[in-house]
Amino acid sequence: MRKLSSTRPRVLVLGIGNILWADEGFGVRVVEAFHQSYSVSDNVTVLDGGTQGLYLVQFVMETDYLIVFDAIDYGLSPGTLKIVENDEVPKFTGARKMSLHQTGFQEVLSAADLLGHYPEKLALIGCQPVDLEDWGGPLTEPVKAVIPEAIRTAVAVLKGWGIEARARSGGIVPSLLGNDLDFDNYEQRASRIDHLRTLP
């Protein structure tokens, strides 16, 4: 179902990753913060995709413009933000394994393509993580620090696509994540354990 030219494009702002796993939670935490600070029209969906992998295909197929936030290993210094757009987003596995979810999410994009519903515009906003292996740990400081920039980047991308995100002017906004999983409640009780507990 391609959009008709007279209708508004359907837009998906998607965060993926595992919030229980330190910087792996970057993507989800960005959409959570985006939702807190910006309101969008009803043709725009802000979604916490978690680690749903292939199960996200339906959301991608119903989307004309897609923004994805994820922790990505670009080999850059920790906390560096990088954006890739459209054909650059490595649809069919590029030269480098970029993200812990990449295979999962690339399969999602390929699957959407195989089924004939590939997004028209695509932007991947990634952050170089520091620590992906601290179970129960919070985002590291360098990664946490770039969340506002990641949001500004997304707002600019959306603007370039003719989509407006309006800054909220106060009031209570229910978090995208409930049940103590929201950023403040999760982070205040999460603690780092400094054991070497993963194989590299």
């Binding site: 749903q52 992998g53 399969e107 603690s191 194989l199």
Partner: protein, 596 residues
């Protein structure tokens, strides 16, 4: 050196060592090392989880009523199963009951997860271990149509349809963009299907991909949102407002009709596509009966899908419950998850520390203290392991045992228990599958049997969904619209110190959470997940787990292409299998294979 394990396997690690890393991401990552003899037959297998999972650290001191939301983030695949297990554990601890409607709806959500997970697992993660996608390009669409029509009366079966599928596939392959099909060992001698069967399977791969979107809508309707649907201790968060029109989130006639229509579709898909495909593919692999491992010896099923709300006794559970030891199908042993002598976790070969390493701990008393050290014969360094020493600690997965025995869990385990119980709804489909394939009972205990049992499980689950949907509607029509009991919602109503256990049969097997609550907060929380049972390392007596057991004695056609290892391990549907096809940094290989 050749050794005999107490659970009846002969291991010999003198031959060439092959390292496959990762096989899949499970609780992080998973790696398998095997030794093969001069004929490339696997003679020793070492299964290791390479990432620590310390859920109890995250949950300690949190509100027990929020635990489900954390546990459903453990894994990207069985989110709902963890959430359901968690709310059951809390309800068990606090003596909280749920209404009949909540029981029916939870069953519908759990069964929808079974069907969804099984369909996606088979077509999108496992079928490519049996189906050669590139070979499908050689198929004759007309002959494919004849094949499809001979296995079922599914409507999408014309020569033109298969021609179209083939053209789309050809475009993908010729552009060098195999997409999801990129990382396969296409052309490997272990692929046995003729081109037409391959093309039919590819067509159904695409249909299943499209159809699975419908199944999850059931979670959106009952859980309020998807992904990450809402759950509630004491019932379900969704109200029933049967005459309501458009009330946000409430279950009304329109939404129930939608659920009913999805149930009809998934029953038809199971009966006309999934099960016939497994039978058609299976008929070409009836000689490849490796990978049985523990399935013919020791299996464990907790049971699930209660007929009556709050009754988790064996009589109420529609999925089989019980343990079988040493292949004695005549004796189904009762299980008690609260009995400290039954389920225990060992860490002698795991990277944890216990006060007494040779002793196991029941999950209520579970300890998760990391202790990372390699055995004396390991090769490489702590940060770059070339070869593990299975004589020492070698996995981040603990070794759960039932009365000291390693057990296989999963669809095959529960169907073996159901078969042994003589229940016709489990016994007859198994007998039919074996008869149609012309195979003896012993063939059930194999990779093929595991894959067939999952298909039967999906078919069974679909029919049960119809049953519980009708039961739900009848109950609502009788005037009962309750979906939650909240009389014990407030922590002030709780005892000072309690413990409980909740269980389900997750798509991939027996799952339980043990919780201790103190002063209204979580004091200890331990999950023993299906893949912990199946992928467990060795125990103090030397008993090997289901993965290791299933690999032993399997011949490999080409050790540089570990297709047989992947096929066997994938048949267990290990957790986070969505990341199974992990690539090396150059994006070329499915897994790094090292031969030493």
């Amino acid at each position: 050196m050749s050794i005999q394990t107490p659970n009846g396997f002969t291991l010999d690690n003198s031959g060439k060592r092959i390292v496959v890393d990762p096989v899949t991401r499970i609780e992080g990552h998973m790696r398998v090392e095997v030794n093969v003899d001069a004929n490339n037959v696997i003679r020793n297998a070492v299964s290791t989880g390479t990432m620590w999972r310390g859920i109890e650290v995250i949950l300690k001191n949190r509100d027990p009523r929020d635990a489900w939301a954390f546990t459903e983030r453990i894994c990207g695949v069985c989110t709902g199963a963890h959430a359901l297990t968690s709310v059951r554990a809390v309800e068990n601890a606090l003596g909280i009951t749920i209404p009949e409607n909540a029981n029916s709806i939870r069953n519908l959500m759990q069964l929808a997860l079974q069907v969804h997970d099984h369909v996606v697992h088979f077509y999108h993660l496992h079928a490519l271990d049996w189906v050669d996608v590139v070979c499908a390009l050689k198929a004759d669409p007309k002959a494919t149509s004849q094949l499809a029509q001979s296995v079922s009366d599914w409507a999408l079966s014309s020569p033109g349809y298969f021609k179209d599928i083939q053209t789309r596939l050809k475009k993908f392959v010729e552009s060098g963009q195999l997409g999801p099909f990129k990382n396969g060992y296409w052309g490997n001698a272990s692929y046995k299907l003729p081109p037409e069967a391959n093309l039919m399977a590819v067509a159904h791969y695409l249909e299943a991909l499209d159809f699975q979107k419908e199944i999850v809508k059931i979670h959106t309707i009952f859980g309020g949102k998807n992904p990450h649907p809402n759950w509630l201790v004491g019932g379900l968060p969704c109200p029933i407002n049967i005459d309501g029109t458009g009330a946000v989130g409430a279950i009304n006639i329109e939404r129930l009709n939608h659920v009913s229509s999805i149930i009809d579709q998934l029953i038809e898909f199971n009966e006309k596509v999934y099960v016939p495909d497994v039978m058609a593919i299976g008929s070409f692999y009836r000689d490849w009966l490796f990978g049985g491992g523990l399935s013919g010896k020791n299996v464990l099923a907790y049971g699930d899908v209660p007929e009556h709300a709050n009754d988790y006794s064996e009589a109420s559970l529609k999925l089989p419950r019980g343990a079988i030891i040493n292949g004695n199908l005549a004796d189904i042993l009762p299980i008690d998850l609260a009995d400290p002598e039954q389920i225990q976790e060992f860490v002698i070969h795991s990277w944890y520390k216990y006060p007494h390493e040779a002793k196991g701990l029941h999950p209520w008393d579970g300890v998760t203290e990391p202790h990372y050290e390699l055995g004396p014969n390991a090769k490489g360094t702590k940060t770059n392991i070339q070869e593990l020493d299975e004589g020492g600690k070698y996995s981040w997965i603990k070794a759960p045992r039932w009365r000291g025995h390693a057990m296989e869990v999963g669809p095959l385990a529960r169907w073996v228990v159901g078969y042994a119980q003589g229940k016709p709804e489990f016994k007859e489909p198994i007998e039919k599958v074996l008869k149609d394939l012309g195979l003896p009972m012993s063939a059930l205990f194999s990779t093929l049997g595991r894959t067939a049992a999952r298909a039967l499980d999906s078919e069974w689950a679909g029919r049960q969904m119809r049953y519980f949907f009708d039961k739900l509607v009848a109950n609502i029509k009788a005037g009962d619209s309750a979906t939650a009991f909240v009389d014990k919602w407030k922590p002030q109503t709780w005892p000072k110190e309690v413990k409980g256990v909740g269980f389900t049969e997750a798509p991939r097997g027996a799952l339980a959470h043990w919780i201790k609550i103190k002063d209204g907060k979580i004091d200890n929380y331990q999950c023993v997940v299906p893949t912990t049972w199946n992928a467990s390392p060795r125990d103090p007596k030397g008993g090997i787990g289901a993965f290791e057991a299933s690999l032993v004695d399997t011949p490999m056609s080409d050790p540089t292409q570990p297709l047989e290892i992947l096929r066997i391990i994938h048949s267990f549907d290990p957790c986070l299998a969505c990341s199974t096809h992990v690539m090396s940094p150059d994006g070329q290989e499915m897994a790094k294979v090292q031969m030493r």
